[in-house]
């Protein structure tokens, strides 16, 4: 399954899959999230806010030279790691490539049990936002 993932995402997913214990996986997620570049305070707007998460999550992005560039921030560390998987892992792809990535990889990692809107981790809501951004970019003329 990880075969089909874009390289940056694949590397992070493999890192998560390299351990079995959920606490260890969370530690890795926290580490991954720690590498994420801070976003400017001005970007923490209502429009960039991802609703339905227990923590405060902002995500935004658009086309840069034909490729998607995502950025984001979550005020909880584990959610920030989940967000990094998507924000880092899908940046640099065309909108169409982003849309082709199935979110199912997250279930295999074991850090998210079900792909349903869940307030606790917010992964699904973040994924939906990232997809919507790619879709908007693709409708606006990106490929």
């Amino acid at each position: 399954m990880t075969e089909a993932l874009p390289p940056k995402l694949k590397a992070m997913v493999e890192e998560l899959n390299s351990v079995d214990d959920l606490t260890d996986k969370y530690e890795i997620l926290i580490e991954i999230g720690g590498r994420l570049e801070e976003i400017p305070e001005e970007a923490k707007t209502e429009a960039n806010l991802v609703r339905g998460c227990q923590s405060v999550v902002h995500v935004y992005g658009g086309l840069q030279d034909g490729k998607m560039a995502f950025r984001g921030h979550a005020d909880a560390m584990i959610v920030n790691g989940l967000l990094t998987l998507l924000v880092e892992g899908l940046s640099g792809l065309t909108p169409r490539e982003v849309l082709a990535v199935s979110p199912d990889f997250i279930k295999e990692t074991g850090v998210v049990k079900a792909l349903t809107p869940s307030r606790v981790n917010g992964f699904y809501n973040i994924y939906e936002r990232v997809k919507a951004l790619a879709l908007a970019a693709s409708n606006a003329g990106g490929k």
Binding site: L22, Y26, Q54, S55, D75, A76, M77, I78, V120
Partner: protein
């Protein structure tokens, strides 16, 4: 003395593992687990007694009706009601409160009247009143609490003007753990002529309830927080009030006679408030939950919880950055501990603890106004029941220490 190991064997789920680690279940304020006797009663009901109630004349229906009504009598005894007719079955405490809002309050309150609640209410005891207030032009007033999580009793009398027709408050806070001085609150509200609704969702599972001693008019709680099945709530109301109240929902069972196109008349209380087929199995088997609690004795339940809470507070106090929301005074608090670790996000704590096998609740705990009071986005909450053990408390605190390390929470100087 209660043999906790024996008790734990009565609760099959307690021997489960979570993430490969023995489950430490500290989310009892959300819902409690069910003993074997309740699980077996449910199984048995559907195997042996399943039928609709109050309708058919066959033997099965008689048995199901009798089981359902037996629980009503049992609940009445359990809370010291004058008679079984004072017990209305609903889906949960939330529906019990909505019933009072939609029936009693909608009938008796008029534009300009006021309803008093407290700042520490669960949303279930806020939103129904706000909805009614919007519709009818009522005003909601709020009795605040101090930073210790105690109600500001000295502000009560000035808030209880003669316009206040109802005082609706929680006996025990699901966030702060505060056990409010319920008898005094009732007495002072009644002295000003207000009706009183007590939200006992966090009290009935832990303290002995005697509605006659309380002196209130309505009392609401949920079976699922006290060993019973989900889908069953209780509204106790004084008989003369229930008798005078209009129905809440219309349908089968709640009528005496239906005429077309009009002229329909209502059944007697409490049945006029129970439209349609209720959770028959759930109600019937709530009986076994009450049996279980009575066999232990509510005093013993309370004593054990107080012990666990004292131990937890003592241990938690040594965790650096631990911030408790609520009083430390053991005589004024129940078995709910809401907290934050300075520098850590509550949702991270909840997820990490979960990964270690410890189930707590995190977030806004259905009490946004309390979060606002303390200026926090969320809290973590550990809540105990009599089947928890001292070892579980120790493990919870150890794991919390581990969370601190993982989250890299910087040491704070006192």
């Amino acid at each position: 003395m209660l043999d906790v190991e024996k008790i734990r064997r009565d609760f099959p789920i307690l021997s489960k593992t979570l993430e490969g680690k023995p489950l430490v279940y500290l989310d009892n304020a959300a819902t409690t687990h069910k003993p074997e006797s309740v699980i077996r009663a449910l199984d048995n009901f559907y195997r042996q007694d399943n039928s609709n109630i109050h309708r058919s004349t066959h033997g099965l229906a008689n048995k199901a009706t009798e089981d359902y009504e037996r629980t009503r009598r049992h609940v009445a005894r359990f809370i010291g009601a004058a008679c079984a007719q004072e017990i209305v079955f609903t889906r949960n405490a939330t529906e019990s409160i909505n019933l009072v809002a939609r029936s009693w309050a909608a009938e008796n309150l008029k534009a300009g009247d006021e309803i008093l609640v407290t700042e520490m209410e669960h949303h279930a005891n806020v939103v129904p009143w706000q909805m009614l207030a919007r519709e009818k032009g009522l005003k909601l007033k709020v009795l605040p609490f101090d930073d210790q999580g105690l109600l500001k009793m000295d502000e009560l009398d000035s808030l209880l003007t003669e316009k206040v027709k109802l005082f609706a408050f929680t006996w025990v806070s699901n966030v702060l753990g505060t056990v409010n001085p319920v008898e005094e609150l009732v007495r002072r509200a009644k002295a000003r002529g207000a009706a009183v609704l007590v939200d006992a969702a966090q009290a009935a599972p832990h303290l002995g309830v005697d509605v006659r001693k309380l002196g209130c008019d309505f009392l609401a709680f949920s079976a699922h927080k006290m060993l019973g099945p989900t889908g069953v709530g209780v509204l106790w109301g004084r008989e003369e009030l229930l008798d005078a109240m209009p129905p809440y929902q219309g349908g089968g069972s709640m009528i005496e006679d239906v005429r077309l196109p009009e002229g329909t008349t209502w059944n007697l209380a409490p049945w006029k408030f129970e439209a349609g087929t209720p959770d028959i199995a759930g109600v019937a088997c709530f009986d076994a939950a009450l049996d279980y609690l009575e066999a232990l004795g509510m005093d013993e339940v309370h004593r054990r919880e107080a012990e666990l809470t004292a131990l937890a507070l003592d241990r938690l106090q040594r965790v650096e950055g631990f911030r408790l929301y609520g009083t430390r005074d053991p005589s004024r608090r129940g078995a709910v501990i809401s907290f934050n670790l300075e520098g850590a996000n509550a949702s991270d704590l909840g997820q990490l603890l979960d990964s270690m096998g410890v189930a707590v609740r995190t977030g806004k705990l259905c009490a946004h106004p309390i979060m606002r009071h303390y200026g926090v986005e969320g809290m973590a909450r550990a809540s105990f029941y009599f089947y928890n053990t001292g070892e579980e408390v120790e493990r919870f605190v150890q794991d919390l220490q581990r969370c601190r390390k993982i989250l890299g929470v910087p040491a704070v100087k006192a």
